[in-house]
């Protein structure tokens, strides 16, 4: 049935083999817009900014498909030479058991084993691969929507033995390795660790009048814990209950970020795979600008809700979009090739790139192994 959609032959040869799939690893892109009226949620990366950064690092267009790994990463075998980058939740990245910095594009020799460990902070890691994961698009997107077994790799999370096709890279692979995030982004925490508390902005929801004033006040005053029974459809929120008035509300369109209050149940923060319509009162809404952060809440993390105005939501969105844009531009300027192969690490200055790129700096990570070439991009300035 629907499961066949992802199985149609792809011209791209397999480039990655799954040795261990991790907890829940799926192919995701920026989602499947335009089908909400048909009951299909947008899906796509729960942290879209992180996927876009991974794509920018490996030279892909922003909407290329990568791998989203939840809490526990995957182990993958490179079936061909690849350039990869890890973004999103903070987790160790290894190539052939050697630790590699996240947030940089890394050359991976054919035959190497790429390992993504357990998230220390945040919830979802994104592995970008130069060329993008080339599963066939379904309804305009490669994202996996598991509730309908749609898109991605056979509509399901990856399992051991899956072989993923990768598309042609945007530039010669050599030129795509060794690029790193601009410092202002690399320093940003990926999300809270379990037990940590964060604040998420939210706007008043249209159903706020369906819960008692007292319980709404408690909602804004308390920290809610992300339940382990959370997934890409939504986060279940453990905390003071919302007292919902009797009566039934007509189902209406829902956006990700909505905080629903089922009568007698835990509030639910809707995420990217959440239902397109719902009949529970929506008491508050995390704006689109902060949805990426909602996608990085691991079970056990605690959230407080900070009411914001629409104007502030506008500003936050503009800031987020501009930062992403800037990051993509500054990443593109990477002048050096940085590789980690079974033979060891090495760095080659490529000397290609514009004269205005000398200012670029790699984020504050251990960079000894390549600093023998002088300051980054020094000879370009």
């Amino acid at each position: 049935m629907v499961r066949r959609a992802g199985e149609t032959g792809s011209p791209a040869p397999p480039a990655l083999e799954v040795l261990q799939p991790g907890l829940f690893t799926t192919v995701q892109d920026l989602g499947r817009p335009g089908y909400r009226r048909w009951g299909l949620p947008p899906a796509g990366a729960a942290d879209r900014a992180a996927l876009q950064l991974a794509n920018a690092l490996v030279g892909n267009p922003p909407g290329a498909a990568g791998l989203e790994m939840t809490l526990q990463g995957a182990r993958l075998l490179a079936l061909q030479d690849l350039v990869i980058a890890l973004t999103g939740a903070e987790a160790p990245l290894t190539v052939n058991e050697e630790t590699v910095p996240a947030g940089e594009s890394v050359w991976v020799d054919r035959g190497s084993i790429v390992g993504v460990g357990t998230a220390r902070r945040g919830c979802r890691m994104y592995l970008g691969v130069a060329g993008g994961i080339a599963v066939p698009p379904v309804l305009g997107s490669r994202s996996t929507y598991t509730p309908a077994a749609l898109g991605g790799f056979r509509g399901r999370p990856l399992v051991r033995g899956d072989r993923l096709p990768v598309g042609p890279p945007a530039a010669p692979l050599l030129s795509l390795a060794g690029r790193c995030l601009p410092p202002e982004l690399a320093g940003e925490p990926a999300g809270p660790a379990p037990g940590e508390e964060v604040e998420l902005p939210c706007l008043p929801g249209p159903g706020a009048g369906w819960v008692t004033g007292a319980s709404l006040a408690r909602f804004y005053g308390a920290a809610y814990t992300i339940s382990p029974a959370s997934n890409r459809m939504g986060c279940r929120l453990l905390g003071p209950p919302l007292e919902v008035a009797e009566g039934e509300l007509l189902s209406h369109g829902l956006v990700p970020g909505s905080i629903q209050a089922p009568r007698g149940g835990d509030p639910i923060l809707v995420l990217v795979d959440g239902q397109t319509t719902g009949g529970y009162p929506v008491v508050a809404i995390v704006p689109g600008a902060d949805l990426d952060r909602a996608g990085q809440l691991p079970p056990g993390a605690r959230v407080r809700w900070r009411p914001v105005t629409l104007d502030e939501a506008f500003r936050r969105r503009a800031r987020r979009d501009a930062a992403l844009q800037r990051a993509a531009v500054s990443i593109r300027a990477g002048p050096r090739f940085y590789a980690l192969t079974p033979a060891g690490r090495y760095t080659v200055e490529l000397g290609q790139g514009g004269g205005d790129r000398g200012e670029r700096e790699c984020a504050g990570r251990e960079t000894d192994h390549r600093d023998h070439h002088g300051s980054p991009g020094g000879e370009l300035g």
Binding site: P147, A149, P204, L250
Partner: protein, 279 residues
């Protein structure tokens, strides 16, 4: 199932319940049907022509809600606005989701995306509201016939439903299949149609305990709605039959068998099935 029964049994709070309405002081949908709308303020809807309301959900989403509930003209107006949006596609509008009495609009993020859409609504809503209430079906309206095998293995709840309603199984089937339903919206899962209204004689609460999985094509009944599960899924509705039709198939030219606004009729067939006709 998160979908609710399509009744607008909205609890009145402030009028009769001075002593302890749970939510008399808060803005919300409760006012949608029963109260005058106060001036727009933080978190409160902006009034639109004809008693409609405009809720700002986020920096990229608006919700238009029409008064009157399911039994009134709200859905006619949702349809009219749906068509209007399709015809005059405003550049800032990205997509929209019609429902029973509301329409969700996703627009380009930011004030520059919101303003043209809000302006569009202020200008064109009047026209949408002027749509003749309950017009004769326009000629273009599609009717989808769904061959359905009632009872037996395909409809395990039919005996219980018949007992609960005090009707014979044949009568339940006759009533359910004699009605030309409206598909108000698709939701819950891709291609799941919320159909209604169901004849009052078939009114039932949903299952107290949702059952495990029902097969794809299962026809469910709950409240004044009936629907069809496109995938094998847990179900909180009474399952009275099954169709072999695939409601959602991404490989088809038109992946969705039933569209929002379509008319739908169930046609009783034997277990062997039959073909759908879309006219």
């Amino acid at each position: 199932m998160r979908g609710r029964a399509p009744k607008v049994a909205v609890q009145e709070a402030s009028r009769g319940a001075a002593g302890g309405s749970p939510c008399s002081t808060l803005p919300g949908w409760r006012r949608w049907t029963l109260f005058p709308v106060p001036a727009a303020g933080p978190g409160q809807p902006e009034p639109l022509p004809g008693g409609a309301e405009l809720f700002t959900l986020s920096e990229e989403a608006l919700l238009v809600r029409f008064p009157g509930g399911l039994d009134g003209t709200a859905y006619t107006r949702v349809r009219a606005l749906d068509r209007r949006l399709a015809e005059q596609r405003a550049e800032a509008v990205r997509e929209w989701v019609p429902a029973y009495d509301s329409l969700l609009i996703l627009h380009q993020p930011g004030a520059e995306g919101r303003e043209p859409v809000a302006r569009f609504l202020r200008q064109h809503l009047a026209a949408a509201l002027d749509a003749v209430p309950d017009p004769p079906d326009p000629p273009a309206e599609r009717i989808v016939e769904v061959p359905t095998c009632y009872g037996g293995e395909a409809g395990p709840d039919l005996p219980a439903v018949s007992a609960l309603l005090g009707l014979s199984q044949e009568e339940v089937i006759r009533l359910h299949s004699a009605t030309l339903y409206r598909c108000y919206l698709l939701g819950f899962m891709p291609g799941f149609p919320y159909l209604g209204p169901v004849p009052k004689a078939l009114l039932l609460p949903r299952l107290a305990h949702p059952r495990g999985k029902v097969p794809a094509g299962s026809v469910g009944l709950a409240g004044r709605q009936t629907g069809i599960y496109p995938f094998s899924s847990p179900a909180g509705w009474h399952i009275i039959g099954r169709t072999h039709l695939r409601l959602f198939d991404p490989a088809r030219d038109d992946p969705f068998l039933i569209h929002p606004g379509d008319r739908v009729r169930f046609v009783p067939v034997g277990p062997a099935g039959g073909e759908a006709t879309v006219g």
